[in-house]
Symmetry: C2
């Protein structure tokens, strides 16, 4: 009574559009910061869809939501997923695509009447973006046991709210224990968020791993003074020091060369007035590299520069680590499988590392994990203009479906990993 | 029945302390931004003191308050004054000293029973600091006819409020016409807000003029993008461009040399997040010089640099003039008189220009004007730690008193300016 499952691209696009209406902002973008009212509304919509498909919906103590098919199966599933929180000026695809494509894969399998050896599941993880609470990928970090749930609850948002309070407020404190039991495997479909696939005219990315990430918050304390009467040589200008550090981060990234990137995305001055030399500056430094040794070198150079800057300007500089993740390599069997399925679908495919952090790197700590990338138009992401062409979404979801079917064991094939021991 | 008038330093210090309690902030500072509730409370206290002395209190259409003795005299007074608004993290002396010392001078004259040829008056002018509404010195600018009151009322605050609405809200829309009739002369006592007098061990500054001021607001529009996936060479980073402009302003001031100063006191990034390349930056550039030609050269170099920066980073940069005041020279007769009185009082005195803008430079457009400076401890101002020693306050108020008596004609001397035609 079974047929070959196939994704319904229009249904997937429809859900992406419906979810994108929640927290919609000008320019087609979305603002659903983690555990805000908009995030709650988005969560409720996705959970409704999960229930509509007859899936078993489990919520854990950090608000991660997992939906399983068949609903009575408790053994390790082939898990798909991503996140539905966004940055303040985000797009409709980042994260959302992986969650809704996972839902689409399960709906396609149910509709086709296919039974799989391993159950299927799709999850969305809390606070992946890290825009409201640090670190990013917090929900999946707790999921795999990298952070205990009590410590996570005590995280304070940039707006001063406590994570545990916000989680209770939006009604997503669940009873599933963390760390969770390891899935059989994990696969995440995601937009590239970079320009490489589009620039090379390639439809599918077989993601080999994730760049290491170093986030620091830097606080510079100088001396407020009158902008007109204080000679240049007598200043202790926290605003100038922040600007100089931001320009140094650019110099550093250029000096170390690709794939090193460095960004100062946040600068807050105090008192932030035209005629007052800033007494205090708080800024963030985001450094990433696929090579942990080079990333460490970049961090050391920032350290040294801050020390020299503090001495030269007569300011104090303190630093706080917001996040630090080593580079991750995905399971080579899953990278191979993604490539193999893409080729079988007649898609162009390229192996590449991810420049962004993803929940998949957390799951990689506990099970074979991998990712499928689809192209981002003009490489734009974290921006209302973020877009992936419908044809590319269909191609990515189709690859995800067949990768998952091979991993789960179906269509008269045994589960892929069960027959192929680690190399 | 008259005696020689003398200032009561303790009474003046008491009023400074009482006014400093309104809007008090940590560290002994004050936050009384123009036309806020705290400013209203400060205004009400000073007006109460004016009424207690039996002065005639007049309020004009921009909320400038002038108190005159004798109350029935309508001919041009010798006017003292300054402002009582502060920056967000200001001190107790900036502006307040000039207003309360003026009140003290009048109280001393009344107490001594001295009659002067010209009446005496003391004023406080609205929004001198410019921290809430641009431009700074707005009240005195309207007072002398440099800006019409309707345009001034339509000024929008950094917090979005309209000046005219805020003025009505705090109850300071008066009926006196602007521009006002020119005073006979204007003298303002003010803290130096810089390090020169203290560094040289001098008690009294005879202020020769005021630096020219150029304030610009610069808006940089780039492209929001993911901090991890966007190669350095493909960025249009408004945050980096803002930082680079801020470091250029420092380079420019050092290159042009003293007395050129340049400050970027305000930088606001959007969306201001650790992992998003900034789409937009708004920053301010404050340039000052006593030589208008050099100040113009500084402005032109900023223009050129912005054009080059925009082209190199692929961002757009727009600029808006917030304020532009040419350097001002005070009436040399009043500079001489301040010096002469200080010497007669046995004080050390130095002629020097002001690095900050003051209401006196507006009054200088319509009448002979000058200023008396007292030292600032460590040169610190626009900071809760701003301080002037009580002995120096006494010295400054004493010089102000005798300068005003000479200008007004008293103690058996004819009015100073009436006997000494302009050179």
């Amino acid at each position: 009574m079974s047929e070959r499952p196939a994704v319904d691209v229009d249904r997937l696009l429809g859900r992406l559009a419906a979810l994108g209406e929640i927290g919609a902002i000008d320019g087609g973008g979305v603002c659903r910061l983690a555990l805000t009212d908009a995030d709650r509304e988005g969560r409720d919509l996705v959970v409704t869809w999960m229930h509509d498909l007859g899936l078993r919906v489990d919520v854990d103590g950090i608000g991660n939501v997992t939906a399983t098919w068949p609903p009575d199966r408790l053994d390790p599933p082939v898990l798909m997923g991503s996140h539905i929180d966004t940055v303040a000026t985000g797009g409709r695809y980042d994260g959302n695509l992986g969650v809704l494509a996972g839902l689409e894969v399960i709906e396609a399998v149910i509709a086709a009447g296919v039974a799989t050896t391993h159950p299927l599941a799709v999850a969305f993880f809390t606070n992946e973006e890290g825009s409201r609470f640090a670190p990013d990928m917090l929900g999946s970090l707790v999921h795999v046991g990298g952070l205990d749930v009590e410590t996570a609850h005590d995280t304070i948002a940039v707006d001063g709210a406590r994570l545990g309070d916000e989680l209770a407020r939006v009604g997503y404190v669940g009873t599933q224990p963390t760390p969770a039991a390891a899935p059989h495997a994990y696969v995440e479909l995601h937009i590239e968020q970079g320009p490489v696939l589009e620039a090379e005219g390639i439809t599918i990315g077989a993601v080999t791993g994730v760049q290491g990430i170093s986030w620091q918050e830097v606080t510079i304390t100088g001396q407020a003074n009158h902008a007109g009467t204080t000679p240049m040589g007598l200043r202790h200008d926290a605003g100038w020091a922040a600007a100089r550090l931001a320009t140094f981060v650019r110099e550093l990234a250029l000096d170390l060369g690709d794939p090193q990137v460095g960004t100062v995305g946040r600068i807050d001055l105090h008192p932030d007035l035209v005629n007052v030399i800033a007494a205090r500056a708080v800024l963030t430094v985001d450094l990433r590299n696929t090579d942990d040794a080079v990333l460490g070198e970049a961090e050391r150079r920032v350290d040294t520069f801050c020390d020299e800057l503090a001495a030269a300007e007569g300011v104090t500089i303190t630093r706080r680590e917001l996040a630090r993740f080593e580079p991750v390599e995905f399971d080579p069997r899953i990278v191979d499988l993604v490539e193999e399925v893409a080729v079988a679908h007649g898609r162009t495919v390229k192996r590449l590392p991810s420049g962004a952090g993803h929940d998949a790197q957390m799951l990689a700590r506990v099970c074979p994990a991998g990712m499928v990338f689809t192209p981002s138009v003009a490489g734009i992401s974290h921006n209302p203009a973020e877009r992936t062409e419908p044809n590319d979404i269909g191609a990515g979801a189709g690859v995800l479906l067949d990768v998952v079917l091979r991993l789960a064991g179906a269509v008269e094939q045994p589960p892929y990993l069960d027959e192929a021991p680690p190399a």
